[in-house]
């Protein structure tokens, strides 16, 4: 399974990521998930989310998640980008791409990766209210 993990304070260029995907004639299913910052957090209007990571541990925990994915499903490739720092509303903070022979395993692996991330990867967000 190919893996690519990026934790970055830069922006996400979805079109470039799509164009940069390695073509595969084995992967019948490609899923791209984007986590987008909404305009409210716990019902409070916000303008920005500030993401903070314990980066070394985040990388290690992502690696363990990818190991589990590889054990459970026949995945061709997983690429994941998580932004840190300020992310404006309407922008993506998370981009996950899973390529697999069939869609069932692609969906399962993608959902598992995100669920596990939300359980164990040390990243936090701080809402910046609109008024401030």
């Amino acid at each position: 399974m190919k893996r690519e993990l990026t934790i970055t304070s830069g922006p996400l260029d979805e079109a470039a990521l799509a164009l940069g995907r390695e073509r595969s004639t084995k992967a019948g299913a490609v899923i791209v998930f984007l986590g987008v910052v909404r305009d409210e957090e716990n019902s409070v209007p916000i303008s920005i989310l500030e993401y903070e990571a314990f980066e070394g541990m985040a990388r290690h925990q992502f690696t363990k998640i990818f190991d589990q994915v590889e054990t459970r499903w026949p995945i061709e490739s997983i690429r994941l980008i998580h932004r840190i720092g300020a992310v404006g509303t309407g922008e993506a903070s998370l981009w996950v791409e899973v390529m697999a022979p069939h869609r069932g395993e692609a969906f399962a692996a993608c959902q598992f990766t995100i669920d596990e991330m939300k359980r164990v990867v040390p990243i936090w967000k701080k809402p910046v209210p609109v008024a401030s």
């Binding site: 314990f54 070394g56 541990m57 998580h82 995100i114 990867v121 936090w124």
Partner: protein, 81 residues
């Protein structure tokens, strides 16, 4: 012996610092360290039930026996995505 303790997210606000050093006794467990930290940073106490603890880059429980030089991290529930 000495361990370094790192705080993340709003735990930094509760303690007023990003990292602290604690002197602990030989064979002290994380539970012992936590008691010392609660005495030094009382605001952490309110978060006792939702505090995640790592040594290095792995999660550990309160019965983990600390060693000289361990880097302990304390933080609230994670919120990636």
């Amino acid at each position: 012996m000495k361990v370094k303790v790192f705080f993340y997210s709003y735990f930094k606000d509760l303690t007023g610092c990003a990292v602290a050093e604690e002197i602990i006794s030989e064979n002290a467990k994380i539970a012992d360290l936590m008691n010392q930290l609660y005495a030094r940073f009382p605001k952490l106490t309110a978060m006792a039930n939702s505090t995640l603890i790592a040594v290095g880059v792995e999660y550990q429980g309160r019965s983990y026996v600390l060693r000289e030089g361990d880097e302990v991290s304390l933080f609230p529930p994670v919120q990636g995505g």
